[in-house]
Symmetry: C2
Subunit: 347 residues, 2 copies
């Protein structure tokens, strides 16, 4: 069908072994020979058959990446980073979507395991135990999930939270609502912990609400609940939720940032596109994808099943991006109070 190593060998008047070497270990063949082989290969447009190579080396040159939901705008940039990094190391990436289903996640790992050298799972939904089981099937790297024994790429959420709280406190906010994400999620626990620590350290008074769905709709709900408490600022679990908060606030006649400040997490593309633009803690998504692939490649390359733990956990820095949804609180909370009353008078 296609041009094989034999064709190249014949054309270059050498054996197939020499062709193979000239391509893979150039130092082992004489310069003249190598030149001849390379010329022949290029002339014929030879591309090694990866299946054949894989059969013998045991490596596929493929990496798997599993995301919970391709429709969630949080993941594409992770994919972008992962894809780009993999490509640089001439690896291909197999994409799969688990539909936020732990069982599906495991099934995907099981299927993929045979055809990849390793798998990156983004924000896995599976339990620790299941994840550990999957880790036996192939080399695993996690993004946004910490699990002893499995290397992972995390983002410095606590650090981001500290920056956000510092920003709000410096603006003069004292009463803050914090909207939680789903209880099962690692990132919810992480944010909560960060919030508690930062608030305690910096003397911010805050009330927790939730869990809410980490989506626009969750923000709608969250805003309703928070409005009742007459807070001057709302910190949302993520940007999607913050966008929902913004929308509900606008609908209730609460002005942002004059009446209430809003802070999100992630720094999605949309954060810059709404009016006012969202103040948010930027997550290094592309970097995370890239770091995860790096980690994977590193482990795959050097056959070391158990490495020292220090290299197992990458924590990437986050950064507060101040935009238009945060400002000093107005002297008194009257506006918010009346708006909240208005909303709930009928309910």
């Amino acid at each position: 069908m296609s041009v094989t190593i034999h064709d190249v060998a014949r054309k270059a008047h050498v054996s197939v072994a020499t062709v193979s070497r000239a391509l893979a270990l150039p130092d082992l063949v004489a310069d003249a020979t190598r030149a001849r082989v390379l010329a022949a290969a290029k002339l014929l447009g030879y591309q090694p058959n990866r299946a054949a190579r894989s059969l013998i080396t045991g490596k596929t040159g493929n990496l798997g990446i599993i995301v919970p939901d391709l429709g969630n705008p949080f993941y594409p940039n992770i994919l972008k980073g992962a894809q780009s990094c993999a490509h640089q190391s001439s690896h291909s990436v197999l994409l799969a979507d688990s539909d936020e289903d732990p069982a599906q996640e495991e099934a995907l790992v099981r299927t993929m395991a045979k055809q990849v050298d390793g798998i990156v799972i983004c924000a896995p939904f599976a339990s620790d135990a299941r994840l550990l089981k999957m880790a036996e099937l192939t080399t695993l790297v996690l993004i946004n999930r910490s699990l002893p024994g499995v290397p992972s790429v995390l983002m410095d959420i606590a650090g981001g939270m500290t920056q956000a709280v510092a920003h709000l406190v410096s603006l003069g906010h004292r009463r803050c609502a914090f909207l939680n994400g789903p209880n099962i999620a690692w990132s919810t626990r992480e944010r909560r912990r960060g919030m508690r620590a930062a608030a305690a350290t910096q003397g911010l008074n805050f009330i927790e609400f939730g869990p809410f769905e980490p989506k626009f709709e969750g923000g709608l709900e969250g805003a309703d609940v928070a409005l009742k408490q007459n807070v001057t600022t709302i910190v949302a679990f993520n940007d999607l939720m913050a966008l929902g908060v913004l929308s509900r606030l606008a609908a209730c006649g609460v002005r942002v940032p004059q009446d209430v400040s809003v802070v999100g997490f992630d720094d999605l593309l949309y954060a810059t596109m709404c009016a006012p633009a969202l103040t948010t803690v930027a997550m290094p998504m592309e970097a995370a994808g890239s770091a995860a692939v790096h980690l994977l490649l590193e482990r795959v390359g050097s056959e070391q099943p158990e490495r020292n733990n220090s290299g197992n956990r990458h924590k990437l820095p986050t950064k507060l991006i101040v935009r238009g949804t945060t400002a000093a609180p107005s002297a008194r909370g009257t506006k918010v109070e009346s708006a909240a009353k208005r909303v709930y008078s009928g309910a």
Copy 2:
């Protein structure tokens, strides 16, 4: 390393050939034997090595999909549809990002060609000639690009435009600005054609502007230009651009939809999340991804290089989603005029 067909054969007391048959062509083996083989396979957790199979069958069970930019919110849902459809036919999908570079696109096809059964390219940037050349390397299916001889999945843009124009006309709009996307893009030509036809048919007076970058920034620019012309409505190339228009309009004190109506294209997630929510022509992105994979699998399955042309072009329906950015124009364009003057008085 792993469990092979030999292990299963030994366990089931049959030859490897029988195992192979029991799994692939169940009718060719006796019921009892098949049962024994299946049991052994399951017991050992046997998973056929796809590389080995691929080597002999010539099929990889992989599909490639190339998008111009993973960071663009238009593509993830196409990926979702493609991935899900491929998965249903037990194919894997190899993802690549061309960075909107025609050369990269071609390079990716060349690299992928060997390890996939076919490739879907979304909104390709390469020229017709180059695309045709790529089509010789592997089975190709295009999304959002029409090219004689290469099967493609398109969206009914003209139909969507007709709906949008009908909506605007019925609202009473007579002066419309239409913001074009990049001139090279197939979808720009398609929209322009649709707009001209719909406007002519329905008697809408419109002015074309652009090309603009099909992003938020392009919308910022576009709004500036359109405002000068004192139109009552703006139709943007896509949602990203429409969001930019919205933002600039808000910044200029032009109220939407009271002063100016805005219509986008795509129906991105964000279209529902801005305030007011965007009226837009929804593109069936997930369906397109799925349709493209279907087409690919169909062609790959039945080795027919040249099929009758009728099956080569799928046009998917689009639908206008009316939300908050469109309304009847105010009696007089005064407001817009003064706002536009304000903006440009200094420039």
